[in-house]
């Protein structure tokens, strides 16, 4: 009967291959702790593999013993031998393994905060976006939002806090996560090593749009980073008309440096067109998505403080979209 249904018999192998392929596929990419792009994530990935191999060895030993006992060992062992097995296999060996893992894990921790940071960035979690503030060479704050740029090969100190509820700052490709707690500043040191674009997320449930609270991380050549930071410090350069943006009150919540818009409730939009994503990782930064976000903020980002501006005349929406899309 089994031989007569080759298709059915082949299923587990095909499914296994497909499953393995999917699992391996998930090991790389912009948001994978198994594809580290920084020193901290490298340590975490090594810890993961050490524990995985250790767990596999222990699993094989336990299952092997069970198979041995049920298949080959025909008679029961003496009570003393049984007690000795329980003592060693159930108490002493697990204690030694846990002690070794604890020592290994504790040894990793101080190294994660070492190094003199070349750069300090303050990141504040807010429902549901990230306020990012760099320190320029003159010490002045350079405000940005929902995007973190770092120079490769240099330590960066990230000072984390929250303006409302507890959030958690996690860039799987660069480091482990750290909570952002209102009234407290937590310090994370990152050592990004590989140039590229990664994805960071909020890793602590923070409300209705928690899922839509992500950010882009761009690790750059140090010289390119310096040039970018100098550009960020400058006011927005645009030829587009800011009239509709200002007349509809956008400046009450958002800042565009160099204009009368100085609100601080929402993200700073000074160089919005430079950012890869909109709405804290919600959409790619395209004119269509920008218009949609302005018109339908409450629908696409439930619970956020940005109201929908879909009631504006279409020409105003077009003008606001064109203006924001020109802010480089």
């Amino acid at each position: 009967m089994r031989g007569s249904r080759p298709g059915f018999r082949a299923f587990p192998r095909t499914a296994g291959l497909a499953g393995a392929g999917m699992m391996l596929g998930a090991c790389s990419g912009t948001q994978s702790a198994l594809d580290p792009a920084g020193r901290e994530a490298g340590e975490v990935a090594t810890l993961f593999w050490v524990m995985l191999v250790g767990a596999a060895v222990i699993w094989l030993a336990v299952i092997g013993t069970a198979v041995f006992a049920s298949r080959w060992q025909g008679r029961p062992v003496s009570e003393r031998a049984g007690l000795r097995l329980v003592l060693w296999g159930g108490a002493i060996v697990p204690t030694l393994v846990l002690a070794a893992l604890l020592a290994y894990g504790l040894r990793l921790m101080p190294a994660l905060r070492a190094g003199e940071p070349a750069l300090t960035v303050e990141v504040t979690g807010e429902q549901y976006w990230w306020r990012v503030s760099y320190r320029g060479p003159d010490g002045a704050a350079i405000e940005s939002g929902n995007e973190l740029r770092l120079p490769a090969g240099h330590a960066a100190e990230i000072l984390l806090t929250s303006a409302d509820v507890i959030h958690s700052f996690w860039i799987p490709s660069l480091a482990g996560k750290l909570d952002m707690i209102p009234g407290r500043t937590n310090r994370l040191v990152l050592h990004p090593e590989r140039i590229g674009t990664y994805r960071g997320v909020c890793a602590e449930f923070c409300g209705r749009s928690h899922t839509f609270m992500a950010f882009t991380v761009i690790v750059m050549e140090p010289a390119a980073f310096e040039a970018w930071l100098a550009r960020q410090a400058a006011p927005a350069a645009t030829a587009a008309d800011e009239g509709a943006f200002l007349a509809n009150g956008c400046g009450g919540c958002h800042s565009v440096r160099g204009t009368p818009a100085t609100g601080t409730i929402g993200p700073d939009l000074t160089h919005l067109a430079d950012r890869a994503m909109l709405g804290a990782g919600l959409f790619a930064n395209t004119p269509e998505n920008l218009r949609r976000f302005v018109a339908e903020a409450e629908e696409v980002k439930p619970g956020s403080r940005m109201p929908s501006f879909g009631m504006l005349p279409p020409q105003d929406l077009d003008a606001i979209t064109a203006y924001l899309g020109s802010l480089r």
């Binding site: 504790l106 101080p110 905060r113």
Partner: protein
């Protein structure tokens, strides 16, 4: 006295976990106070946690030696489930001995961060 009793009771049974709990509190409270008030005194913190650990392990060792005696020096294997005076003594002694082993491991694990701590993190 808890450590020189002829027979075990519930007080001798909970002695080793109590020692662990006090050691745990001592490590965390000392770490919190030193880091908040004297962040430079990590060496002294390490030494006091080491001293506290030696003291806790000594007390657990004493409790363990007594429990081994109450157990009858292992002359009789568990389960001690007969409704007799002897089995009750042996049961309490053996249970205390197991708790001593658990408490000793917990004391060591609780003290281990003191070996690795490099700075008081803000």
């Amino acid at each position: 006295m808890l450590f020189r009793r002829a027979t075990p009771n519930l007080w001798t049974l909970i002695t080793p976990p109590t020692v662990w709990a006090l050691h745990f509190l001592f490590c965390y409270v000392a770490g919190a106070i030193i880091c908040a008030r004297y962040p430079g005194a990590l060496g002294e913190l390490r030494l006091s946690i080491a001293a506290g650990t030696v003291l806790a392990l000594g007390l657990i060792l004493a409790a363990g030696a007594q429990a081994y005696r109450h157990w009858g020096f292992g002359s009789d294997l568990p389960p001690h489930n007969e409704p007799t005076e002897d089995d009750q003594q042996h049961f309490l002694g053996f249970a205390t001995l197991l708790l001593c082993a658990l408490s000793a491991v917990a004391v060591l694990f609780g003290a281990m961060p003191a070996l690795f701590i490099a700075e008081c993190v803000r």
